[in-house]
């Protein structure tokens, strides 16, 4: 057998089911055990693995492992389970052997890293390697297969072991695979470093990626994202901390959000579509607990970790948050104010925001104010399937029939929602955004002002919702508007005017109080605060025409009164500077 044929054999045989050999599990287990032991020894010997790999593939062939798709699957399943069992033995024996955390973990890594590298080599050598694009298919197929098996074993393990589940084996294999497949084993260019092993990795020089992987980077990232979806916190809560650590890992974030071959000037947004659902997943998982303010230690820990990931995103990838803010706001519960502020405070890095405290700041003179923000298409698709879509469109066009306004409240309610859960929040968000967008189109962004937005079918809908909804519904409606108060753009401008207009024109103090509440509760939390939110609130308390200080709710309690005074003072002081 020619050693280099071994790898070619791998996938071609995987495709042929004809020579399928039925083999008992115990027989295969024995073989797998022996092969894994051999590999781990080879890996830790002083020979570089790419030299011994071909010999190893030969011996895999001799054992018939690579013969059929089925035997490959069973081999990976069994070897994953062997590695996992090995880790449990080490971790559970840790206290008995008086070993430190570090010693026990290092011992686990010796097996896990070896296994991960075996996978890397098998993926790399499956199919042919002539440099054509089509040959990447068997590599990606094998990677997907292996990742699927690892995910499946993890899910099964959690069902069996429950509270005793350990994330370590799965997390370690996945993260090493990710590093190897996206960074490459980039050595220093110091060949045959026997004493130093073979893994001199830096991850600082993108050109060091193995050209074999370069063409398949997105498929590799996609494979990992699919695996993470399989292991999502709602399905594998025991794995949640490792899961969050993975999506917050600097290499994973960098590759997904900047693109694999990014340079400071060229950032690829192709990976955003993989990353966004993962972020939304963890927020959705936390949502019921956050909403109820039930924060036992574990939830608190996961929540803080999620905030950290959002902070990194805000600092390093703000454009990503800008584009996905709608989907994120749909998932963030209404009372998670700081989390939502983090998302809404993001603005494109090439933009300079004027200080909201600048006296006589003229919003309409900012050049950015006529541009519309990106994103939103997914959110609006929620409206495409609703039964009242036709009526909505025709009302926006013809401003009739008035009965539509009366029916609208019913459309926004959950059919069998109980107290506190009576409204379809994503639907309210989508409706507010859609109506606002069509209003901006109708008056053109240049002409947005307090007077131009009034007396239209769009404002009819907003004013009707403000009056017709109950406290809960109105709170969600006003929140949906406040979610649009971000960096200078046409939406921020339009919805800022809209909110102030509803305040000025409202017939009851309850609406005005609720508008104040929605704005204030987003401002009394720690920074960051979205720019449009500050601008709107300052306008409300400074502009005499709103008679803000004449309202009773401003003086309803001494601490509220003090709060307003301190907010006002801080605005005025800033003004004098």
């Amino acid at each position: 057998l020619n050693p280099s044929d071994g790898s070619n054999f791998l996938m071609s045989s995987a495709m042929s089911v004809a020579s399928r050999e039925v083999e008992s599990d115990s027989e295969l287990l024995e073989k797998t055990e022996r092969l894994m032991r051999d590999w781990i020894n080879l890996y830790h010997s002083n020979t570089p693995p790419n030299k011994v790999f071909h010999i190893y593939v030969q011996s895999m062939n001799q054992h018939g492992i690579l013969k059929t798709d089925d035997s490959i699957t069973r081999f990976f399943r069994l070897s994953t389970e062997l590695c996992v069992d090995n880790c449990y033995r080490i971790l559970n024996g840790q206290h008995a052997n008086n070993a430190s955390v570090l010693e026990a973990r290092t011992k686990c890594f010796q097996t896990l890293d070896a296994f991960a590298h075996l996978i890397v080599m098998l993926v790399k050598h499956s199919g042919s390697n002539t440099g054509s694009m089509s040959e990447s298919t068997p590599k990606i197929n094998l990677l997907n297969k292996v990742l699927g098996i690892i995910g499946g074993v993890a899910i099964h393990d959690q069902e069996i072991r429950n509270e005793e589940f350990q994330h370590l084996p799965y997390y370690r294999i996945l993260i090493i695979l990710l590093m190897e497949l996206t960074l490459g084993p980039n050595n220093l260019g110091l060949p045959a470093m026997n004493n130093f092993q073979h893994q001199l990795g830096f991850g600082i020089n993108p050109s060091q990626v193995d050209p074999l992987y370069e063409s398949i980077q997105y498929q590799v990232l996609n494979a990992f994202c699919q695996t993470l979806k399989l292991l999502k916190p709602s399905k594998a809560p025991s794995f949640a901390f490792a899961w969050l650590d993975f999506i917050g890992h600097r290499i994973f974030m960098e590759k997904c959000l900047n693109g694999p071959n990014s340079t400071p000037s060229i950032i690829s947004t192709k990976g955003w579509i993989f990353y966004a659902p993962l972020l939304i997943e963890i927020i959705k998982f936390l949502a019921p607990f956050l909403r109820n303010v039930e924060l036992p230690h574990s939830i608190d820990l996961l929540y803080k970790g999620t905030l950290k990931v959002l902070l990194i995103l805000l600092h390093d990838f703000p454009e990503f948050l800008c584009e996905y803010c709608y989907e994120l706001c749909d998932a963030i519960p209404p009372n998670a104010i700081q989390m939502r502020n983090l998302v809404l405070s993001a603005f494109p890095r090439n933009m300079r925001l004027p200080d909201p405290f600048t006296p006589n700041l003229k919003i309409d003179s900012l050049p950015e104010i006529i541009q519309s923000p990106k994103g939103a298409s997914n959110t609006l698709s929620a409206l495409a399937t609703v039964p009242f879509r036709k009526e909505l469109d025709s009302y926006l066009r013809t401003r009739s029939p008035v009965t539509f306004l009366c029916e609208l409240r019913g459309y926004l309610q959950n059919p069998n929602g109980s107290d506190g859960n009576r409204y379809n929040i994503p639907l309210i968000n989508a409706l507010v955004l859609f109506v606002g967008q069509s209003a901006i189109q109708a008056i053109t962004p240049k002409h947005i002002s307090m007077s131009s937005i009034a007396h239209s079918s769009h404002m009819d809908i907003f004013q009707n919702l403000a009056v017709d909804l109950d406290t809960e519904g109105r709170y969600l409606f006003l929140n949906a508007i406040a979610n649009q108060l971000r960096y200078p753009n046409s939406h921020t401008h339009y919805f800022s005017c809209t909110l102030l207009y509803i305040f000025a024109e409202s017939n009851t103090e309850a609406i005005q109080e609720q508008i104040t509440r929605v704005l204030l509760e987003r401002l009394i939390v720690n920074r960051p605060h979205p720019w449009g939110l500050l601008v709107t609130f300052i306008e409300l308390i400074k502009n005499q025409s709103f008679k803000f200080w004449n309202h009773e709710f401003v003086r309803c309690a001494p601490e509220i009164e003090k709060l307003f005074e301190s907010v006002a003072r801080s605005c005025m002081q800033q003004q004098q500077k």
Partner: protein
């Protein structure tokens, strides 16, 4: 905290998730879990008094910082912190100081004087090198440095 919409009854499945999450807290994540194995200097977190520096100096990951380190420190970093950015920066700093890596002996050499002979394949003369086994600098006379063992990749 505030729950403006009031609490809702958590579904059974949420309670199960919470239970598993609480259990997972007992087997927490360690930073090493997602780092490549470091055989010589594994990170070993332990509580340090707050009046000691808790973080490395700013810009200590820059080439300029590494240029200020002693040669021995650079050798230590090179041999004991393999596979890290620090190793890369140390190699860069050593090269800047005219040390050359010999890929067969895995040691760094520096010309002690102008080589006696220079050909296309090798140079010969007296060299200073760093012996990582004895951990010190040694001198070697009449040494032939074959260029095929010279690590000359550009570290950009």
């Amino acid at each position: 905290g505030v729950a403006p919409l009031g609490p809702v009854q958590l579904p059974k499945q949420c309670l199960y998730q919470l239970h598993m999450l609480e259990a997972a807290c007992r087997h927490t994540i360690y930073p090493v879990d997602s780092q490549r194995l470091r055989p010589y200097l594994p990170p070993n977190p332990c509580p340090t008094p707050s009046y000691y520096p808790q973080q490395a100096l700013q810009h200590s990951d820059s080439v300029e910082f590494f240029h200020r380190l002693s040669t021995e420190t650079l050798f230590f970093i090179f041999y004991f912190m393999e596979g890290t950015k620090a190793q890369y920066l140390a190699a860069k700093a050593l090269k800047k100081q005219s040390w050359r890596f010999h890929t067969k002996y895995m040691m760094w050499f520096q010309r002690h004087e102008e080589p006696k002979t220079i050909t296309d394949e090798y140079e010969q003369g007296t060299y200073v090198y760093f012996d990582y086994e004895k951990w010190g600098q040694r001198k070697k006379e009449h040494f032939t440095f074959e260029y095929r063992y010279l690590e000359d990749r550009e570290l950009n």
